[in-house]
């Protein structure tokens, strides 16, 4: 028997949760409604929750408006490279911080935390100048290299690594494993949630990133999805913005992100809970 008080409590918490879900889903729903009707209908003075007309052709039109195939490839390749390198560099740094003793370890960890507090925009100009000097502007190098080391990634993985019993690492050392072998064979398999969390957060962050790809690439062949979406916002004077096409493009742009979230959702909850990174 459920206590009536408990039942009431559960009912209230469910209602609150449902309200939050609506709040989160409403913009996405509105994006979908806008994507399947004409621009005029979007701005129709008549309030409507359902589309006034349904025109799936907006998706085709939006896809053809810009070379989205290239943008998808650019976005996915550059982001996968960022994620790949970041997992490697962050896991090695996190391993050193979590499992080895050396002078200045605390200071280094403190500096890493400090680095997380520097706004990325503050570093854009010097990094841009460096990349331009080595002729990497408008290449994958410009999109990837500045992000292969990440203070946040090191912090996140270090928090995950410290949950691995030190004795396990010591047992592996006595067993004869090298530090690389311990990282690869013992530590990483036991911190999957932290790794998946890093991959997901990173992928989403860079997939959504507009400013850096915008300033470091200048040819259509090197542009990425967010830059392409911004094209829909820069129409010639006198013409109405094509909100319906923008919404349609937005919708197919988020497919990879949704897919990757569905793939890793069971880990991300564990990962965020384990690393005390909430909110």
């Amino acid at each position: 028997m459920i206590n009536p008080n408990n039942r009431l409590e559960r009912g209230v918490s469910h209602i609150i949760l449902i309200l939050f879900v609506i709040l989160i889903l409403l913009p996405i729903y509105w994006m979908f409604v806008s994507a399947v009707q004409t621009n005029d209908n979007i701005f129709s003075p008549r309030f409507h929750l359902l589309p006034l007309n349904v025109d799936w052709g907006n998706f085709v039109q939006a896809w053809r408006a810009e070379p989205f195939g290239i943008f998808f490839v650019n976005s996915i390749v550059s982001n996968l490279l960022i994620v790949f390198f970041q997992v490697i560099t962050s896991s090695m740094a996190a391993y050193a911080l979590a499992f080895t003793e050396f002078k200045g370890k605390k200071t280094i960890f403190f500096l890493i935390l400090m680095a997380m507090m520097i706004p990325m925009q503050a570093t854009f100009i010097p990094v841009y100048i460096m990349l331009s000097k080595v002729h990497l502007i408008n290449t994958y190098g410009a999109l990837v290299i500045p992000f292969i080391g990440s203070a946040f990634g090191i912090f996140l993985l270090r928090q995950g690594f410290v949950s691995v019993p030190k004795e396990m690492v010591q047992a592996a050392r006595i067993d004869g494993a090298s530090e690389f072998r311990i990282l690869w064979s013992i530590v990483l398999p036991n911190v999957k949630p932290a790794i998946v969390t890093l991959v997901l957060l990173n992928f989403v962050f860079h997939y959504n990133s507009l400013f850096w790809p915008l300033v470091t690439t200048n040819s259509t062949n090197m542009r990425v999805i967010p830059v392409a979406l911004s094209y829909f916002l820069s129409q010639d004077a006198g013409q109405q913005l094509q909100w319906n096409l923008l919404m349609a493009a937005d919708l197919f742009s988020i497919v990879p992100v949704i897919a990757i979230f569905l793939f890793g959702q069971k880990y991300i909850v564990k990962g965020v809970a384990n690393t005390s990174l909430k909110g």
């Binding site: 004795e167 010591q170 047992a171 592996a172 050392r173 006595i174 494993a177 398999p189 036991n190």
Partner: protein
């Protein structure tokens, strides 16, 4: 298999001295137990032998080789940890094979060693399971298995039974002893449990504050404790201590505490005189089982009797622990269960004077060595 020698070994963390001037020679095939309370430096010592902690000063030898600067993997040791430290993502078989694979053993050799170890430890049916599907006792067996497949020169065990329940611990204690008798590998075992130390070790090293207090066989440590710490730490219930003074009257030497005088056996007179404790404050130690309550004994040895009041009687089945107040000092007597007495009862207890220990009140060191294992009342039942 090898000897292990620690010569003047120190461990310092900035200002703190964790292990101080540790000297110990462990013979080949010996089972040595390091025992002491938390923070006494026993685990740090073991970890220095394993190579997981740096040695601040001194020399460590495994066999004839000085290994201070040799990494753990090249010391030819295997370690069993308190929390087992099994690799949770690997099966039992892979856990046991990991170290052998890294040492490039052939597949057939690995399989053979795993089969043999699994048979010894009776874990053959668990080889394909993951650690989380095992009970605590089974995990401990796997941890032992992972150590023995390596066939190392030295086994290091860091409180391996602490995470097990009391019953299983008693069983595993005997298993580890049997295992040692079978494979005869030099073993260094760390525990805070004096019963474990007493029952398992060929030799016991009692530590406190990073210093060896006494090193000897369980019998030696029990019957001839070097100081009050060892006397109080080894044995359960702990040894009783009575504070008093040594006095000499009419060429007889007494231990005198408030309201009570106890005549010391004649063989103690020369020691008391030569050690200069006549007239000095001392601590008398007597184990709970060396206090007797039977009327025949109390009337036979009136000069060894103390009077007290029962505070609590604890019945543990075969015997009773009487908590008695004597001259304001609390002592425990371990007597036959038929002497279950109500609180408030006045009792006479007779001390087995040949098993009495005397300690200096200032240094707490034992006065003379009393290596007695046979009591005056041996053969008597209490």
């Amino acid at each position: 298999m090898a000897r292990v020698s620690l010569k003047h070994v120190w461990k310092k963390y900035s200002e703190a001295m964790i292990v101080k001037d540790f000297n110990l020679d462990i013979e080949d095939k010996e089972f040595v137990v390091l025992v002491g309370p938390s923070g006494c430096g026993k685990t740090t010592t073991l970890r220095m032998i394993a190579g997981l902690e740096e040695i601040s000063e001194g020399d460590l030898f495994i066999g004839d080789r000085r290994v201070n600067d040799v990494p753990p993997k090249d010391r030819d040791i295997a370690m069993v940890f308190q929390n087992y430290a099994l690799y949770p993502h690997m099966s039992v078989r892979d856990n046991m094979a990991f170290g052998l694979k890294l040492r490039k053993f052939s597949k057939s050799e690995i399989n053979q060693r795993i089969r043999e170890a699994a048979k010894i430890l009776d874990i053959e049916h668990l080889l394909d399971r993951k650690p989380k599907a095992l009970s605590g006792g089974q995990r401990q067996r796997v941890a032992l298995g992972r150590a023995i497949v390596r066939e190392p020169q030295v086994f290091l065990m860091d409180e391996p039974l602490s995470n097990l329940d009391a019953k299983l611990r008693v069983g595993m204690r005997a298993e580890i002893r049997k295992l040692h008798q079978r494979i005869q590998t030099t073993t260094i075992y760390v525990t805070h449990d004096q019963t474990e130390a007493m029952t398992m070790g060929d030799r016991i090293v009692v530590m406190k504050d990073g210093v060896i207090q006494q090193c000897g066989t369980p019998q030696e440590v029990y019957h001839s404790p070097a100081n009050m710490f060892v006397a109080g730490f080894i044995g359960s219930p702990a040894m009783n201590f009575l504070r008093g003074r040594i006095v000499e009257e009419n060429e007889q030497v007494y231990f005198r505490t408030t309201g009570t005088s106890i005549l010391l056996p004649e063989n103690r007179y020369p020691i008391c005189r030569s050690e200069g404790v006549i007239g000095q404050e001392v601590i008398l130690g007597i184990r709970p089982e060396d206090l007797h309550i039977e009327d025949t004994l109390t009337s036979q040895y009136p000069e060894s009797v103390i009077y007290g009041k029962v505070e609590v009687s604890e019945n543990v089945g075969s015997e009773v622990y009487l908590h008695v107040t004597v001259s304001g000092q609390n002592i425990i007597a371990r007597v036959n269960s038929r002497f279950y007495l109500q609180p408030g009862t006045l009792v006479k207890l007779v001390l087995d004077m040949n098993k009495v220990h005397l300690f200096r009140a200032d240094t707490q060191e034992a006065i003379g060595v009393t290596n007695q294992t046979e009591g005056v009342y041996a053969g008597e039942t209490n």
